[in-house]
Symmetry: C2
Subunit: 414 residues, 2 copies
Amino acid sequence: MKKQRQNILIGQSGGPTAVINQSLWGLVSTLHGERAVRHLLGARRGVEGLLAGDLVDLRATGRRRWKAVAATPGAALGSVRKKPDAAECAQLLERLDELEVRHFVYIGGNDSAETASIIGGLARAQGRELSVWHVPKTIDNDLRVTDHCPGYGSAARFVACAFLGDEEDNRSLGGVKINVLMGRDAGWLTAASVLARTRKDSAPHLVYAPERVFDVAAFLGDVDAVVKRIGRCVVAVSEGVRDASGAPIGATGEKDSHGNLQLSGSGHLGDFLASAVKSRLGIKRVRADTFGYLQRSFAGCVSTVDAEEAFAAGAFAAKAMLKGREVGGSVVLEREARKRYRSRCRLVEVSKLAKATRPLDERFLAKGPDIARSFVDWAMPLVGDLPQVETLELERWSPRPRARGRGRARAGLC
Amino acid sequence: MKKQRQNILIGQSGGPTAVINQSLWGLVSTLHGERAVRHLLGARRGVEGLLAGDLVDLRATGRRRWKAVAATPGAALGSVRKKPDAAECAQLLERLDELEVRHFVYIGGNDSAETASIIGGLARAQGRELSVWHVPKTIDNDLRVTDHCPGYGSAARFVACAFLGDEEDNRSLGGVKINVLMGRDAGWLTAASVLARTRKDSAPHLVYAPERVFDVAAFLGDVDAVVKRIGRCVVAVSEGVRDASGAPIGATGEKDSHGNLQLSGSGHLGDFLASAVKSRLGIKRVRADTFGYLQRSFAGCVSTVDAEEAFAAGAFAAKAMLKGREVGGSVVLEREARKRYRSRCRLVEVSKLAKATRPLDERFLAKGPDIARSFVDWAMPLVGDLPQVETLELERWSPRPRARGRGRARAGLC
């Protein structure tokens, strides 16, 4: 990249995260002042903007504003859920060629990696000089190869803070509380609920990841047992749980008032499970919350490590471009084997993160409806220090005869 | 309170808030070291614990732990939704008498004020020496007399942070997003959504408080108009909206899979409205989130002013007890008429806050589905500084001929 000034084009794709703009700023801050970079462009709404020619000059805004954008959740360039087919990928390559783009960077999940991988493959086959880069993001943490994914730490932090508070709410008024969490095919976010456990018997008391078959009868038995033991119960359940036949829970034959069957972005699963607990276990106070999009967008709940790593992943890709030794790749995070948590970036082939996703590691699944203790050690550094919670664990006081005696003895000591 | 050492008993009641323990600590920290106080007792689960003799010694824990408890959401003493009848109130008075309680303090909403008021009335009628105090709390902000209520500022902060992030999420991917907010009869929390507006056309674009009749057809027209104007729409709607006949929206004849009709603690309203937008406006990407219990319990989202005022309200009641000039009362907050926000506490008769609630002030309701600008000035000090969000508002870039010309001109200036 030393002789000729080159054009670089960046897009964001898929569901936004709290730190996806950090990755964008990691790229832009590294490339902004480089004379070797002729045009530093952004495509609005990912490949959609590239196809439509909806582009922006990423140098046309100042450092101060950029820093504020980086700290803002959501995709600043706009995002898209489009998975272009082969013909569209060929078109995209044409567009990149017309724009004389030397480096195409796609910030996104496994679908975005697939798009990037197809475009990269086409370019190679046609002998075009185009490097394709992929900077991973997802709150679901379901990307392969990488130890974990930028975006996950902040979403996991939201989940942990929600359960920390919900535990106190449930302790206050009792009953059963069911919280439905994002991650249709991977239990990483559902698992993050256990980061909120601060003492014996604190929430969540039951955790249902989508990697295990969900049986409604077994679930009711589990809830019943917890309520009998501690008088209340807080449940974490993935929106993607399925029965032995692979059917979504509560979906069989049950549709909403308009005849639609919808699980994500709806309160259906939570309402179904709450109804079941009420009617079949006869428990009166049962509530369900579906955390929904708050998990990925809530302002002011960002993990510092997550933000730093998202920035670092973008900056790493940018530096690799400037060095010119690599022909592109996906940036993955590696955890260094040391006592204090530290990660480093490295490059792998984009195709390695494309298509297939990564479920919650088997080692993190406990036998029953729970998450293994080892997950906490693994996940806590990504989430950062959590707000402190404390309870009054006082013994029952009774006026006489003992309490009065004690009171006097204590007074005497003063 | 100078001659005889007296017993004080405190209870918490109703739905917890993020700062209800600050009020408890405000009371305890003021009374803890007072020799005039013989026993400083807490009743677990409010009047339920008082009836059952489930009491704790509030001095049996140290200052450091207390401070951590104060910063923890939820009711540390446990709470209760019980509204005792006349016979039970008489029983409660008996219990207080047996325990030789001189001051009974109830931290809660309008129902708790009613209980306290009844017990106080009974005591006076029977000539018993009992002062009854009420320290207000509610996330709904629906208590009369007080300018605003401890607990509201933090819940409003949660709502504002959620909309700040949700705006960016909606800008990223487009479509219609419907957020259902707590406050069945009062639109204070729903109104807090507008605190997230940072620029023209930022969310929420439509706000439906329960103080106004909700018409589904009008709602669909409103959404359609916003989508046509800016290509997307974020809606804030109270869980308590009703049609002209007073029936809850989406409830007429529609029940869940178990035949129950439930609005609060369920995703029903959001799902109903999302379905309507999808099917009747033909918009593809429509999502609904019901913020639910996160609004009152989320750990790490506390307004500093709210926490301070909750503490101050408790401390104020305690000081009034120690002075011994008042016969009890409800602590209300008054806003001082000065440029920089400041509030002070004063006492009113408990009965004044009992029973009836206070809807969102008429002056804060805009004509259409919106909140008046004056609400922002009123509410912002209670919520505190919000996380900063920033967007890239860049003009479309095109490769030639103008952009190149501009590029050269700029290069020449360097």
